[in-house]
């Protein structure tokens, strides 16, 4: 289990400009839909953008706090 504030902090540590929307899919605080908008995505392929978000949340993935993520990304205008 992980709270949204912690996740936002982890993502902003890598992408400080990130605008983030998180939905707790099941109310169990371990399955999330995460939408991230950042200028850092400019020129990156969809797969690389996902790698960036997964990379930011890696610690919580590895210790099991996050079980599942559905990721959406956008370039921040």
């Amino acid at each position: 289990m992980i709270d949204e504030t912690t996740m936002v902090g982890m993502i902003r540590a890598v992408m400080p400009d990130a605008q983030i929307m998180i939905v707790d899919r099941n109310g169990t605080m371990d399955h999330f839909n995460v939408s991230v908008a950042s200028k850092a995505f400019e020129g990156k392929s969809l797969m690389d953008r996902h790698r960036m978000v997964e990379g930011a949340l890696k610690a919580a993935r590895n210790d099991g706090r996050i079980h599942a993520l559905e990721i959406k990304t956008a370039i921040l205008e």
């Binding site: 969809l46 797969m47 996902h50 790698r51 997964e54 890696k58 993935r61 599942a68 559905e70 959406k72």
Partner: protein, 117 residues
């Protein structure tokens, strides 16, 4: 990562035009995302294979290293890695995936069992 494991994975990828590494089997997926991916490809009508790696941590680690992609399922089409449905769904919506699949199956004598959307 052992070379033997890498060889097995490369052969599986080469042998199946659409290959999904997931948790559970086609008939009994054991993860919501794997089930979603199976449903996704069912809707295209092309043959695809699912390899269950739920219990095989060595293979999961090898796959993650080879693709630089930490999660399951992992989808390969015509030998190329496409991530998961987070990537494939937008590709389906903009028509890119239809082209990828048509090219992947061109000359293989396979026609989709249903009309592509």
């Amino acid at each position: 990562m052992s070379d033997a494991l890498k060889t097995i994975i490369e052969k599986e990828v080469a042998d199946n035009t659409i290959l999904v590494y997931g948790k559970g089997t086609k008939d009994a997926p054991r993860c919501g995302f794997t089930a979603e991916t199976i449903q996704f490809f069912n809707s295209f009508g092309y043959p695809f294979e699912v390899v269950d790696v739920l219990e095989d941590m060595n293979k999961r680690t090898a796959l993650a290293e080879m693709t630089d992609w930490p999660t399951l399922p992992k989808v390969f089409i015509n030998g190329k890695f496409y991530g998961d449905t987070d990537i494939l769904q937008p590709m389906a919506e903009n028509g890119e995936l239809k082209t990828v699949l048509e090219e992947a199956f061109a000359g293989k004598g396979v026609t989709p069992t249903i009309q592509l959307r």
